[in-house]
């Protein structure tokens, strides 16, 4: 099942802040399951990429120490109407993507 992403982006004076809210447990693999005595298996987003009009902008790598249901914001030099695309994967192979046209 695709990882769910909410995205917002508005350009002001040629600079846009792109914000994303992602639904993901971000299990680091260290947290103990008290019932079984074993850690909850690691399941966390590990790579996030952002492109603007198809060109690479941000290549981000995460550990399980990023908070659950993560929030992320980056900034790009872009104008209203430019297309921003966010793609991500987690360590188990799940993926998600979202795109928008900047306001």
């Amino acid at each position: 099942m695709a990882i769910k992403i909410r995205m917002r982006g508005k350009s002001k004076g040629g600079v846009a802040e792109v914000k994303a809210l992602i639904k993901h447990p971000m299990e680091s693999g260290v947290r103990m399951n008290k019932k079984t005595g074993k850690p909850f298996p690691a399941k966390f987003i590990d790579t996030v990429t952002v492109t603007v009009n198809g060109a690479a902008a941000v290549d981000s790598q995460w550990s399980g120490a990023v908070s659950a249901n993560p929030y992320m914001a980056i900034k790009v030099n872009a104008n209203s109407g430019d297309e921003v695309k966010l793609s991500l994967t987690d360590n188990t192979g799940a993926a998600g993507e979202a795109s928008l046209k900047l306001k």
């Binding site: 769910k4 909410r6 917002r8 914000k19 809210l21 639904k23 659950a68 249901n69 929030y71």
Partner: protein, 276 residues
């Protein structure tokens, strides 16, 4: 001897220590005294800010809260609530009408026929069971999501609980008794923390003022990474204070909610809220 909240606090005496277990106060007088108390306590904080809870006392905490509220994690819950509402739309509209922005502000209210306080969550489930549908669980899950959806759509509306009968006044006072009477292993009352000591720290927690307590429910607590209803929080707090919690939607918690909501009259509804 009947001691009003304000007089007792001015004298630095705990109300519970000298008042009888069951008191009868005039709700509006009591509410006005509480508003005056908080005004005297924090002259720089405007009445309308109390809907933001404990965050009015700490700029550092408020900045973190605003960062979260900017793109809040409860958006999914609101969508889920909307989906649940739409799923049984015919049933819900028969009970509540079709304008989802007008539902939350009506609750809680005192129902004369049954002489009971009726809450939003209680009504949602009653509506379901009356129509032969399975009721939702009380403290979290779909019920909280539907409540969040309705609260979100009523943002900006003012809390306006009416007390227009002896029965309603009695329910208010019963709720007030739960609020002011000490209970549990620590012999603490809600008032001890949330009125007399609001704005101070209880170990690592900043105590929120009871003025405005109900405006932002249901809450998405970072701790739960999930939504919870007001009664879930009541129970959780009682448990933490080593007092026996009442059941969600019990008469006790409904009366407490009635008292607390009335005391927040005039404040804006801003649920669902993000909390630590």
């Amino acid at each position: 001897m009947k001691k009003t909240l304000l007089i007792a606090l001015t004298l630095g005496v705990s109300v519970a220590a000298t008042s009888s277990m069951a008191t009868t106060v005039d709700p509006e007088t009591d509410r006005q005294q509480m508003v005056d108390f908080f005004k005297a306590k924090s002259p720089k904080i405007d009445f309308n800010e109390y809907k933001d809870g404990g965050y009015i006392y700490s700029a550092d905490a408020k900045a973190q809260w605003e960062a979260a509220e900017e793109f809040p994690p409860y958006l999914d819950s609101i969508d889920a609530g909307e989906a649940a509402w739409n799923k049984d739309q015919a049933v819900f509209e028969k009970c509540f009408g079709s304008d989802v922005s007008k539902i939350r502000p009506k609750y809680p209210y005192f129902d004369e026929a049954s002489q009971e306080v009726v809450t939003l969550e209680g009504s949602i489930n009653k509506c379901r069971t009356d129509a032969g549908l399975k009721p939702y669980k009380w403290k979290k899950g779909t019920l909280a999501q539907v409540s969040a959806y309705l609260a979100y759509n009523s943002r900006g509306e003012k809390v306006n609980v009416k007390i227009e009968s002896e029965g309603a006044k009695k329910a208010f006072n019963e709720g007030r008794d739960i609020y002011v009477n000490p209970t549990g292993q620590f012999s603490l009352s809600c008032a001890e923390c949330h009125t007399y000591n609001a704005g101070r720290y209880a170990r690592a927690d900043l105590l929120s003022p009871n003025l405005g307590h109900t405006t932002h429910f249901p809450v998405f607590r970072a701790k739960w990474q999930n939504l919870g209803t007001l009664h879930r929080r009541y129970g959780g707090c009682h448990k933490n204070m080593r007092a026996k919690p009442f059941k969600a939607q019990s008469k006790e918690y409904r009366n407490l909610e009635f008292f607390q909501a009335y005391m927040s009259n005039g404040l804006e509804i801003n649920g669902p809220g993000y909390r630590k």
